[in-house]
């Protein structure tokens, strides 16, 4: 078994990072930002995303760059969303007037329940604007998700989702898990599909977004209805319990993304629709030694291992004892790649075999050696990892941009106000 190298040449990494920098700078310029702090915040976020692209390509590891991006994205989203709600309505409470005015923000996680009534009965069962409105509206949010999903596949869950960074953030609190999930019953992996089935059927029959009304743990960090009757009281108990359990406590204890891995119906829908996107995470079984470190590192229970039948004659220490497989629920976060000591796991494209080696022989003719660098850069740019990271960073930046730059601008504003106050204290 050989340890595979995953580093890309500095030239390739620089070319792709500069491309990201140019793309993001164009977005920033097109936003017509006049506020200095907002411009500074956009600059900081653009530079971070450029550095992230470079480092992921150069090291072949997404850790810790993607994780920081994703957690900052989610917490910024929550901060800005709640701030806007409080500024507008005075609280996070979802009032009857807002629902009756169809002015509820639509969240992508609600999409699976809306598809059947929209397709079969041409009904929109969520109290939001139909085309585009105050908070985007159904078609705007639906297309945002659809294009993101077509481009990144299940990568949406680790690079584009507004909420995934919440349980990911809490899953990074401890260095080691207090609750080991290795002994989790394998059937629990199917729980998101069960949630999906229940909410789709229920929503279609009742013509109401049942997941949002009864289960959604994310109400804890977005908006919740008034608790003014026994049913609302029961719903509040459910969403508070699920929210604290799946978003905070269990991720801390297990170091797994519990809401994303075991509950999210949008994640389940995307797992089922996986053939619509050609990006995959692939294990090279020749290089894999079955150590199961990827299984422990996977935050969404997407690495499945099976014990191999070994005969006593070849059961030495180097014999592979486990066969590892990436499940369709994989969110392309790259944690398994960072954990794999053999470098056996890599982004891949359906139908494209593993990358060829570019180490050309010195005995080759001079013109072939001259073409070596441009050839290497060309093939490295069109490799699955480069294409996926470029897509994911571009979409991630677009989706996160508004929320992160506004949050950073607030922080910069606080620092700018604090510095004269602190220097005044020092002088006194």
């Amino acid at each position: 078994m050989t340890v595979r190298k995953r580093r890309k040449s500095i030239l390739t990494c620089t070319i792709v990072s500069v491309l990201v920098l140019l793309l993001l700078s164009t977005f920033v310029m097109s936003q017509q930002v006049v506020d200095d702090t907002r411009l500074a915040a956009s600059g900081i976020w653009t530079l971070y995303l450029t550095l992230m692209t470079f480092m992921i390509l150069r090291t072949g590891r997404t850790r810790p760059w993607r994780s920081i991006f994703f957690v900052v994205f989610a917490f910024s989203f929550v901060f800005i969303f709640i701030s806007d709600l409080v500024a507008e309505r005075g609280s996070m409470q979802l009032t009857r007037e807002v629902i009756e005015a169809n002015d509820t923000p639509l969240c992508p996680v609600a999409i699976p329940q809306l598809i059947l009534p929209a397709l079969l009965r041409k009904l929109l069962i969520f109290p939001t604007q139909i085309v585009s409105g105050h908070y985007g509206g159904f078609w705007a949010i639906f297309f945002m998700w659809l294009v993101g999903f077509l481009a990144m596949g299940k990568g949406w869950c680790s690079w584009g989702c507004f909420f995934g960074g919440i349980d990911e953030g809490f899953s990074k609190v401890l260095r080691k898990p207090l609750l080991n999930m290795k002994k989790m019953p394998p059937r629990l992996r199917y729980l998101p599909y069960a949630v999906l089935l229940v909410v789709v059927v229920w929503s279609f029959l009742a013509l109401e977004p049942s997941y949002c009304i009864w289960f959604c743990p994310l109400k804890l960090v977005t908006e919740y209805p008034a608790v003014d009757n026994p049913v609302a009281y029961l719903q509040a108990i459910i969403f508070i319990t699920l929210g604290i359990g799946l978003l905070v406590i269990l991720p801390i204890l297990t170091k797994k993304r519990m809401q994303c891995g075991l509950f999210c119906p949008l994640g389940a829908l995307q797992s089922l629709a996986r053939p619509l996107n050609p990006y995959r995470v692939r294990i090279d079984h020749d290089a894999c030694d079955g150590c199961r470190k990827c299984e422990a590192a996977c935050p969404t229970f997407s690495v499945v291992t099976r014990r191999l039948q070994t005969s006593p004659a070849n059961s030495g220490p180097s014999t592979k004892r486990f066969l590892t497989k990436i499940d369709r629920s994989c969110t392309h976060c790259g944690e398994c790649m960072a954990a794999c000591p053999q470098g056996a796991i890599e982004y891949a494209l359906v139908g494209v075999p593993r990358t060829r080696s570019f180490d050309l022989d010195n005995a080759q003719p001079w013109w072939k050696r001259l073409l070596r660098v441009p050839r290497q850069v060309f093939f490295e740019i069109f490799e699955a990892r480069t294409l996926f990271v470029l897509t994911a960073v571009t979409f991630g930046a677009t989706l996160s941009g508004n929320f992160v730059t506004r949050t950073l601008a607030e922080l910069i504003g606080v620092v700018v106000r604090l510095i004269p106050a602190l220097s005044g204290l020092g002088g006194a």
Partner: protein, 47 residues
């Protein structure tokens, strides 16, 4: 080239073409505009 490999290649080409059409829409500031025509094509009402 096996049939399944060819099908995969065709699928990847269709995917790339679909993205080539959809991604510019995504990055275009779409509040109104073309979304109106999508909504007109598939009109939704309230229960």
């Amino acid at each position: 080239m096996k049939l399944s490999a060819r099908l995969k290649t065709v699928a990847v080409i269709i995917w790339a073409l679909a993205l080539a059409v959809l991604v510019p829409f995504f990055f275009y500031n779409y509040s109104g505009g073309w979304l109106q025509s999508v909504a007109a094509f598939w009109p939704l009402s309230r229960p």
